[in-house]
Amino acid sequence: MDDLSHGFSKYPGLNGFPRPAPPKTTKKPKKAVLFFEVEILDAKTREKLCFLDKVEPQATIAEIKNLFTKTHPQWYPARQSLRLDPKGKSLKDEDVLQKLPVGTTATLYFRDLGAQISWVTVFLTEYAGPLFIYLLFYFRVPFIYGHKYDFTSSRHTVVHLACTCHSLHYVKRLLETLFVHRFSHGTMPLRNIFKNCTYYWGFAAWMAYYINHPLYTPPTYGAQQVKLALAIFVICQLGNFSIHMALRDLRPAGSKTRKIPYPTKNPFTWLFLLVSCPNYTYEVGSWIGFAIMTQCLPVALFSLVGFTQMTIWAKGKHRSYLKEFRDYPPLRMPIIPFLL
């Protein structure tokens, strides 16, 4: 192994100070500090990308990623996936080197996850779009509808109500992104921002076009329908917010702990008794309310697409809960009580 005869190790200890010389080898070594060597190979080509010697046994994957970045600065830690097997799962940042099933020379395989972008950035961009775009249609800026309608205002109350609801919904989302949510992952692939923004901005424009159209037809059952739908919308928005707060309180700031969520004193959180992801349940409910309120088919289609996506996410989340917690409440379904 490395010659420990140097006075100081070339690599500073983790606190940045030079390491004191290890004890001279005697017949009975008292506490041999065994350093690891880490070689990083490309998962696809098996090419040797980096060799790290004198790695602390308690080094975490996060620290190894930082060391790797020094030799390959274009691969910042967020875009590194290191794994023990080229086709295996990514190691977590918190994993400790000596706890992994490796010998003193560890071989890690590297995959480039591609350019990354922070979740917060993506969320803010994808939510700011609909907020702004809807208002363009609401205020009937030129070139959307015929010129005689430029900057006119709809004569239907429900149209004004819809604008308020839609705008407050996205303001809520923006504020939650900034102040409420605690993200497990810092980043996601860059291409997601284009995909996500196309989805949110596209649908927002499509819905807003019809709701704010001069030829818009108000709901068939009039004020009754609007009132009922508004109630559904508001209740579900409060519910969704309550769940976000409850989930936030489950996880202390800066940590990545996972716990089973349970109902709290807030009645909106009692949906946790029946469902793993009540935030999604409430979100679907909000959009159904908005669809009924505006009686607009594109809104219904948006709700359907959103529901499909959220169901996929809810099922995944539900499965992880079941895998991780033996005592997970059996009554719970992923997203719809008793059904789905």
């Binding site: 019809y210 709701i211 159209h213 818009y216 037809t217 009686q295 607009c296 594109p298």
Partner: protein, 254 residues
């Protein structure tokens, strides 16, 4: 593009199992494949489809000989064309239940685009049925499908003649552009009639606050060929290089 997608997208109608993405010729890969019952069903399916498209091919030839011209041959093969092309919807099911190792999304896209052309364009806009462009894509599809389904049949039986493999990965070079041209020209020919009749379109005001302009939609479909067709075409060319050169190497060492 429906023609292009046909060969590019489907990874094998139960071609012994292994993912075509890696090349059917990747002999060292463990092939899990569908069970014996599924294999029997798939062989029957692919044989029936091969036969069906042969019927269409024969029908075209007979009609040409009887009429003496290649115009308006669509009417002679309209029924089997609709039947067998629509029958391909089963292939989506095959992927969904897992007896065929292809992507459901890709297969859906391919089959739906064919079905769209048959029903939502050619069938729906009668004026377009006598166009020569229809013959262009029908011929391209017919040749492609006969080769494709026989390819799958032989693969399932683990006895794939090199000729069929060669044909599948070579003829597309001509058949794709031919099929795409036929499709685009047909859609283009349908446009004025769609606009005139307001076909499949709904306008404001209405109580669902929704509108749809089929004419504009068809134009968007035509535009979508621009990014999609080159991708599929070059994917097939890439596959061709991989699969046909691999087989030749194999032959060298035999």
């Amino acid at each position: 593009m429906a023609a292009a997608a046909a060969t590019a997208a489907t990874k094998g109608n139960g071609a012994g199992g292994g993912r075509v993405g890696a090349g059917e010729a990747a002999g060292t890969r463990k092939k899990k494949g569908p069970g014996p019952l599924a294999t029997a069903y798939l062989v029957i399916y692919n044989v029936v489809m091969t036969a069906g498209w042969l019927v269409i091919a024969v029908g075209l030839v007979r009609a040409y000989l009887a009429k003496g011209s290649y115009h308006s041959l669509y009417y002679s093969i309209e029924k089997p064309l609709k039947f067998f092309q629509t029958g391909a919807l089963l292939e989506i099911l095959h992927c969904a239940i897992g007896i065929v190792p292809s992507s459901v999304v890709l297969t859906s896209f391919q089959v739906m685009s064919r079905v769209f052309l048959i029903w939502a364009v050619t069938h729906s806009v009668k004026e377009v049925q006598s166009e020569d462009s229809v013959l262009l894509f029908v011929i391209a599809w017919t040749i492609t499908e006969i080769i494709r389904y026989s390819f799958y049949t032989f693969s399932l039986l683990n006895h794939l003649p090199y000729l069929i493999k060669w044909a599948r990965y070579t003829l597309f070079i001509v058949l794709y552009p031919m099929g795409v041209s036929g499709e685009l020209l047909t859609i283009y020919a349908a446009l004025p009639f769609v606009r005139q009749a307001g076909l499949y379109s709904i306008s404001l005001p209405n109580k669902y606050n929704f509108s749809f302009d089929y004419h504009a939609f068809l134009i968007l479909v035509m535009i979508s060929y621009i990014p999609i067709f080159p991708q599929l075409y070059f994917h097939m060319i890439h596959q061709r290089r991989k699969i046909l050169s691999h087989t030749e190497e194999h032959k060298k060492f035999e």
